[in-house]
Amino acid sequence: MPSPFSVLSLLSHATGRSWERQWRDAQPKPAYDTIIVGAGGHGLATAFYLAHEHGIRNVAVLDKGWLGGGNTGRNTTIIRSNYLQPESAALYEHALKLWETLSQDLNYNVMYSARGVLMLAHNHHDVQVFKRHVHANRLAGIDNEWLTAEEAKDFCPPLEIGGHTRFPVLGAALQRRGGVARHDAVAWAYARAASAMGVDIIQNCAVTGIYRGPDGAVMGVETERGPIAAGRIGVVAAGHTSVLMGMAGLRFPLESFPLQALVSEPVKPVMPCVVMSNTAHAYVSQSDKGELVIGAGTDAYTSYSQIGGLHVSSETLAAICELFPSFRRLRMLRNWGGVVDTTPDRSPIIGLTPIPGLFVNCGWGTGGFKATPGSGHIFAATIARGEPHPIAAPFSLDRFADGRLIDEAAAAAVAH
């Protein structure tokens, strides 16, 4: 088990002691109490809270690739909770409150930085929608405020607000507690803390089937490395959820799309906050390494390719250059895609499935990173108790049949 991080451990390692491995690269055992499919942030957080809060430590987290190699390592690391509907506000605010103390709770610096998320309004419709969000959020006790264009410029000096630009800024909604965190560190922190409590994290172990008993309940999974038995299975597989659910004979209200992001060459600090523009379809922040981290849109068509069309990122860059003329001469360093699972109402599905013992946490679409701690926390409670956590309850699969949809098409900043 790794020693806790502290000033003393830093000093002793600085004098030549090499750092030990922070989590075990476990080999699969024949059986576990619970299997989590997917070693991304949400899956690892689920395993951590199962062990930490519910005493369920005989847990395996399986991944077809490497830890944090899917959407956890591919997103633009934005954190905010200014969603419209009360159910979503409760969910994302639960996560935001966990973010605020996560580094201390996990003894690992996840570099959460509440630098503010500024959402730009470019037309009359945007102004109305964002003001509605501001009011709804404040009624729910969540910070969100309206800024005039001049106030937005004061908050984010490189922003161009002049009336002659292609995307004039009419104002902006600002959530000051929003910000960014280091995405890889979140996966590593949960992996380290979960592993220390006995959770097995098993990489390169794709699930190829789901076993069910005569009563229909799950009995375990078939993997590339042989069968593994478990009475409870939690699927946290993002873009591949439909594929895994298909192994259990279920169809889900999900479609998988490639979503792109890209980073520029590193420069000195130029960007003090996160800026999002739903209408121009661009969002940008600056990492601590100095790269501008830019999020583009999804492709129009479903795909598992983890590559998006170049015209999609080109349109985003064109918008960024209009909004931030000083960025025009920056070169892009690399771009990539992730496969996101979107639901018809742009809200996640968290909870039970029609198959006993099979739980699912999916449908986070284009905005799952911000919810990582809260998602893991309520999903662990759902698996441990066999019934939905109160915050998860409205996000059940049943809502598509009974019509209680949670429409967040306007709050989910990526248009699709």
């Binding site: 298909g246 209200p253 999900l254 129009a300 479903t302 598992y304 390719s305 018809p344």
Partner: protein, 90 residues
């Protein structure tokens, strides 16, 4: 950018088209007799396969017509396209 085979116009660049989701989803013939579960299946459940997918496109900046196509969702390669009233190729 995909090069999409329109059955009427031939191969054209993707930005002339709109994607219209999974093909061959039929609205229930007698909606009044259909329960909530069946409506949910019709409205929301999709195959979302990793591999061969039959899907609708509309050549909105071309001939304006809807058609169906078969595409592999891993490679994004089109296996072909066909008219809306035709059955998918085997």
């Amino acid at each position: 950018m995909l090069l999409i085979p329109c059955p009427w116009c031939g191969k054209r660049p993707e930005n002339e088209f709109r994607y219209a989701g999974q093909a061959h989803i039929a609205r229930p013939a007698d909606p009044a007799s259909v329960g909530d579960e069946a409506w949910a299946i019709h409205l929301f459940l999709r195959d979302n396969p990793k591999g061969r997918h039959t899907e609708r496109w509309r050549h909105i900046h071309g001939c304006g017509r809807f058609f169906n196509a078969v595409r592999d969702t891993v490679t994004d390669q089109f296996a072909g396209s066909y008219k809306s009233n035709e059955a998918p190729p085997a």
